[in-house]
Subunit: 339 residues, 2 copies
């Protein structure tokens, strides 16, 4: 039998949701749905960390959820986008709250899948869902807030001239999915499944961020969810720097689909995928040039964070440009913007 | 010249908003708009407190904002409702994040007033706005998250049989404003201004909550933003208790308008105002019966938190009822619910 949330009522809905979110009572004295606030035993929870980090990010149906995404994946994404901001400073996430605007005619089974997605993503990254809010709204809107800890949070502002510009993983899978959904290109069934998973259920680079922060050589970091070009521009602006890019070093599309797809795409299309779309939840970071001499560290970064070196930091007056042979071409600053 | 946020662009909008939110750099290393997360020096910020509290609450135009409310008051309210949850556990608020869903055609002057309201409410309660998010949405939606500290957070679940049931301040001003807006009654200009201010710009009882928590005699606490009846039912359920209410002791309407208004309202109407409307941001709490013997403490509570004793806690099987002379009348459990 199909049941709508308006039939369940607010108290029933809160009970149904909060029973999914179990917490470690040693650290979290009061969890979701139990009281006016969540209560965290802060000294126990933080361990030896010095800094508390806070970030908030909202997703709403009409703007952020591509056609074909499941309720589970919507919930997963609402957590993942926030975890990605925690990852982008090299911090360890520990607690999460979720405010949900829910249309009255939403089916309760939809809410069950959505909250399972929230719980599974949080659990996958050792993060407790400690609280939230529900309101009635015209469209689904999920606003997450994530708390984390760090000793040496990596800022956007620390890049120095001469530093190496690096990314984790590969770029453009999510963009390829967007193009397929928009019928701009046709993919094999296998590739379509892989890229849609990247778009619908992003994997925040939490462990990678911690490894990068702990390396001792990272000078700046940001996630590239709004596209590599915009994120690079952000680091450049915050650090008062420019950037020289080696386009051939940029890892476009994940290895498992690279050969199958890249052959059909022009250089310009590959650049579009890697630089000018959002949806990749990789990290862009800079490391000291001297790190190159520490072979053990370089191997660790290549292996544990799938690091690629894609350029170097240059003086601000040079701007941001692609360099090939002796040619320089200015990078356009565009990507995903809400307004 | 009128300018819309869509003309300003996302980066311009973020700059315009975040420059309003200045923070104490001794405690908050990274504030709003500076990086992926806010960064708080947690040991410095928490001082001697043991517990970190987190709460999140969303307001949206169609559901929560009554006609006549100003953009300043919308922003103020988005902070106040979250501070009220912090107050309801007797905690000290210290940091706040705000995720804003903004329609593209919103005027930038509206955003300026809105963010001034956010900043002024946060400042009034020594709370720093440390971060946020903006997205484009169909209607205005403001999701706040507030962090606070406490040593002895007062839960909903601690009320014991025999405890006294108390409220801060007076109840029903906001309800009276709702009735006036709905043309259910006609108010004098003076009264209308007073009650609309209560509805549009609520004062969270932060200091009162701290005094109550520090009194050492508080056993349970909740805010009554969804109405006294629902909040009382929550305390009763969490504490496995019932309640006996002395209706004549319930302070209906603030002193400055009580005489003018109460004469025209029936007992039933007064009860409606005090029990079954939301919008009052007072605190409902229980204290140990023995507190009555400590005259100095009782005076302090009457003076500093405007305490009224409105009933007592009884065994759960008795339920919640009004008692007058020897008559008992069951209290209805209704109020403001979203679904």
């Amino acid at each position: 039998m199909v049941m709508k949330v308006e039939e369940l009522g607010e108290i029933g809905l809160i009970e149904r949701i909060t029973k999914k979110f179990q917490v470690d009572k040693q650290l979290i004295t009061v969890g979701a749905g139990e009281d006016d606030c969540a209560v965290i035993d802060i000294d126990k929870a933080k361990g030896g960390y010095r800094y508390l980090l806070v970030t908030t990010d909202a997703l709403q149906e009409s703007t952020h959820f591509p056609p074909g995404i499941t309720p589970f994946q919507m919930g997963w994404s609402a957590v993942a986008v926030n975890l990605s901001d925690i990852a982008a400073m090299g911090a360890r996430p520990f607690a999460f709250t979720i405010a949900m605007g829910i249309p009255a005619r939403t089916e309760t089974s939809f809410i069950d899948e959505l909250t399972t997605g929230i719980e599974e993503c949080a659990s996958a990254y050792n993060t407790a869902v400690v609280g939230g809010d529900i309101t009635r709204s015209n469209e689904l809107i999920l606003t997450g807030t994530c708390l984390g800890f760090a000793n040496n949070p990596v800022m956007r502002a620390g890049a120095k001239v001469g530093d190496l510009l690096c990314v984790t993983g590969s770029l453009g899978n999510a963009a390829l999915a967007v193009k397929a959904i928009n019928n701009e290109l046709k993919l094999s069934k296998r590739v379509e499944e892989i890229v849609k998973k990247a778009l619908f259920q992003p994997q925040p680079r939490v462990n990678e961020g911690i490894v990068i922060a702990n390396s001792g050589v990272a000078t700046a970091m940001i996630d590239i969810s709004d596209g590599l070009a915009l994120s690079l521009a952000e680091i450049a602006k915050s650090s008062n720097a420019g950037a020289e890019l080696y386009e051939d070093n940029v890892p476009v599309l994940s290895e498992e689909i690279r050969r199958e797809e890249c052959s059909e795409l022009s250089t310009r299309e590959l650049r579009e995928l890697a630089f000018y779309y959002g949806g990749d939840y990789e990290l862009l970071f800079t490391i000291e040039l001297g790190a190159l001499e520490n072979e053990a560290l370089m191997q660790k970064l290549r292996k544990e964070v799938n690091m690629s070196i894609i350029g170097k930091v240059v003086p601000p007056e040079e701007g941001i440009y692609f360099k090939k042979d002796e040619e320089k071409e200015k990078m356009e600053i565009k990507g995903y913007q809400h307004f």
